[in-house]
């Protein structure tokens, strides 16, 4: 036995993954090498489409049916690439396990979680029946910190929160004491505070159980706090690898440097003290009614926004921060009068709380909205030129087709896109470009207030930074006021001069950006900050 055998438990050499598509073969992973040693944490970092997930899917035999893997992936003495399904089933779920990005859909919605955790126990752990597996399942649920496991074991996935579902997935992954746990963006879909809990859990379990973790992520913050070694991937290739500390302090490859610098930087200065208040809400309340009706009993009243007062000055950016379900998006929509609400809303000194559709229409052009999803919010059947000039048809009907075209060219130039592309369709653009198009659609109307609802959340970090820069430039050029809704604190910090922290429909804390970030008073804000920007490591000691 050579030294290599004892040193690495997973050794990947010259791995290629390609997909047969209508446009020919797409090479997703190109000739990559990875090594994983027992008990260590290896991070594979890259932006979307870098091949980081597919390289692991390949060795797990989970590629889509049009995918093909070549090369070598040795787990101890076994070659996984090209292994028969039957033999592979002895490795995956027992020696190598995997948790996924989508905690909401990765569990089967039709079966109780206890049964799902017991399946790998039954199929790998010998002759266990579901009843025999039950004590071990309870033990696993306790291990991953599910409260009240005796009751929760009979829950269905939809009865658990996202964080709890990810804990259940982790319990499943640990069921047979694996050598390697592959975690594919396991916290990306979770709120920051939950994210921190899951990462802490993984680190703790690793130090107790000693498995190696392969951590696939786009988030360098997580890598820094979590990994021993890092592989940086780009367009299917590993561009740099090394120990975490070394890589972060002295990155060698230009792409790694770019990723490290992709954190949005800069701060926004507050508007002058005498800037007029543009949009103001007093005691705004939004209530949703769920259920009820004929023979169905009393409806459930849900107060999504609970008596919130807010005043947005000309040239100001208010960041609204909160986790999912905190009511931040609802507040943004209510202030634009896109949702019925109680309380007073004033725009430019005028009370619009009771304005009807007709009254609101001329004001709409001054109050624009940009959405999170750059894929769903642009019509696939219109050219980009048509998409961005559609609002002009309503608000400036006297414009000629030529004038509209001129305005479209101006707007596209302003958001940094080539105006020649205005005859193309949305699907031809990348996520970042689409978000630029959505911004162009808003600013072409020369608005005064723009509500930005998580405009950067669906984008890669490096693209996020560009969009943040663009939004700040546009604000300066047109004296815009922004309501910036986000759960991403780094982006909010770079964008806003004032911050409102929301939780369960209420304001927890508010104040100038620097104050909130440097000296948060409320416990909830402190937790939020710690989860997002604390640079201390999750693990107590790195294995030698």
């Amino acid at each position: 036995m050579g030294e290599n055998k004892t040193d690495t438990i997973l050794s990947i050499r010259g791995l290629n993954v390609s997909f047969a598509t209508h446009d020919g073969e797409v090479r997703a992973v190109k000739n990559v090498d990875f090594d994983v040693r027992p008990g260590e944490t290896v991070a594979i970092v890259g932006e979307s489409g870098s091949g980081k997930s597919q390289s692991m899917m390949a060795l797990m035999g989970l590629l889509a049916s049009n995918g093909r893997a070549t090369g070598s992936a040795r787990y101890r003495d076994q070659e996984l690439i090209g292994m028969s399904e039957r033999r592979l089933n002895k490795v995956r779920g027992e020696k190598i396990t995997m948790i996924f990005q989508e905690p909401m859909t990765s569990l089967d919605p039709l079966y109780k979680i206890g049964r799902q955790i017991s399946e790998p126990l039954i199929h790998h752990g010998g002759l266990l029946s579901a009843a025999q597996a039950r004590p071990r399942v309870l033990e696993l649920l306790r291990l991953v910190g599910i409260p009240d496991p005796e009751r929760r074991i009979d829950s269905y996935p939809h009865e658990l929160s996202g964080g709890q579902r990810q804990r259940v997935m982790i319990a499943m992954a640990l069921a047979n004491n694996p050598d390697i746990l592959i975690a594919d963006e396991p916290t990306t879909a979770l709120d920051v505070t939950v994210q921190a809990q899951i990462l802490a859990l993984l680190a703790e379990l690793q130090s107790r159980l000693g498995m190696a973790i392969v951590f696939i992520t786009h988030d360098l913050g997580i890598v820094r706090r979590f990994a021993d070694r890092v592989y940086v991937m780009r367009s299917g290739e590993v561009v740099e690898e090394g120990a975490t500390e070394a890589l972060f302090s002295t990155p060698k490859h230009a792409y790694t440097k770019m990723l490290l610098e992709a954190e949005p930087t800069g701060r926004k200065a507050p508007p002058p003290a005498n800037a007029p208040i543009l949009l103001e809400g007093r005691n705004v309340e939004v209530t949703f009614t769920i259920g009820g009706g004929f023979l169905a009993g009393e409806p459930l009243m849900l107060r999504a926004v609970n008596r919130i007062s807010i005043a947005l000055k000309k040239g100001q950016t208010i960041g609204i921060v909160g986790e999912s379900g905190s009511g931040k998006s609802t507040l943004g929509r209510a202030l634009l009068r896109l949702l019925p609400s109680d309380g007073a809303i004033r725009f430019g000194g005028r009370d619009i709380s009771t304005a009807g559709r007709e009254e609101m229409r001329p004001l709409r052009r001054e109050m624009q909205l940009v959405f999170q999803d750059p894929f769903g919010s642009l019509s696939p059947r219109m050219t980009i030129g048509q998409v961005i000039t559609e609002g002009l048809l309503v608000h400036e009907p006297s414009l000629s087709g030529k004038d509209r075209d001129r305005r479209a060219i101006e707007a596209l130039r302003e958001v940094g896109l080539d105006p020649a592309m205005r005859n193309r369709y949305a699907h031809e653009f990348s996520g970042g470009q689409r978000q630029r198009i959505a911004i162009a659609r808003a600013i072409i109307l020369k608005p005064k207030v723009v509500v930005l609802d998580e405009p950067t959340s669906a984008l890669d970090r490096s693209v996020q930074k560009q969009i943040v820069d663009l939004l700040r430039d546009l604000q300066q050029a047109h004296d815009l006021s922004y309501l910036f809704i986000s759960h991403d604190l780094a982006v909010v910090r770079a964008m806003s001069d004032y911050i409102i922290v929301m939780k369960q429909g209420q304001i927890v804390e508010e104040g100038p950006t620097a104050e909130i970030f440097d000296d948060p008073r409320e416990e909830y804000t402190q937790t939020l900050m710690a989860a997002a920007i604390d640079v201390t490591k999750f693990r107590a000691a790195a294995p030698s």
């Binding site: 989970l62 995956r92 779920g93 990765s106 919605p109 079966y111 790998p120 199929h123 939809h158 023979l295």
Partner: protein, 307 residues
Amino acid sequence: MFAYVLRRFAGAVPTLFIIVTIAFFMIRLAPGGPFDLERPLDPLIMENLNRAYNLDKPLLYQYGHYLWNLAQGDLGPSFTRRDFSVVDLFRTGLPVSVLLGGMAISLALIVGTFLGALAALKQNTAVDYAVVGTATFGITIPPFVIAPILSLLFGVWLGWLPAGGWSSGSLRHMILPVATLALPQIAIVARLTRGATIEALRSDHVRTARAYGLPTRIVVGVHALRAAILPVVSYLGPTAAALLTGSVVVETIFGIPGIGRYFVQGALGRDYTLVMGTVVVIAVFVVVFNLIVDILYALLDPRVRYD
């Protein structure tokens, strides 16, 4: 769940009331009446007949009278089949239609889901193409073409099976009509199952099951097919209601004494009570089967709860 079922039944009463009301007045809008024959009857006889069947009374009185009887389970006398009440006709005809339809729907469910799942598992292979091709064929050929062909082929030329007739429901007489009813349904169920299975096989939780090394029979049988059956269940609800209440085409071509014929015969003969009776029976079946589907759904999918 029990409260939910009760609530649904309570909710069905107004639905049925509206259906009965619309149907009652619509059939009366049609010109002519039950006793208008090719050679007009003697006016005196006509008058007597009208009086006997309350047709001389104001329409609203007749409507109220019908509702009152209906509430007591009396669908009234048939206008064109003397000496038979509508309930009598259904008592003999409905079991035949339900038996025929029930067998057809069971066959469609078993064969259709099997073929659909098979095609999905063998996606883009010859098996898949064969199933999809046959299914498309099955959907496009209407029963009034299938029925005579089957009858001709197996009944007349080959002589294996009776070409028609019922013979008090002997199995040999049932094969061809059941096949005719089931074929298009098999095709539709197969296509639905195939699509749903392919989607389920691509879902994240099936990927999880595979990532955990579960054997294929568990991955497919436990995790993919249960999800795939859901759209089939929602399709089968209204379809079952339609099949169990009889098919005009099949009953006419094979000469089967079901109730499918009554709707057309009643409408053509202005047999007001017979048409109304058929409407009521079909409406009740639709309501009941929609409820069954909703309950099945809740049993199959824990996310659906009605309490």
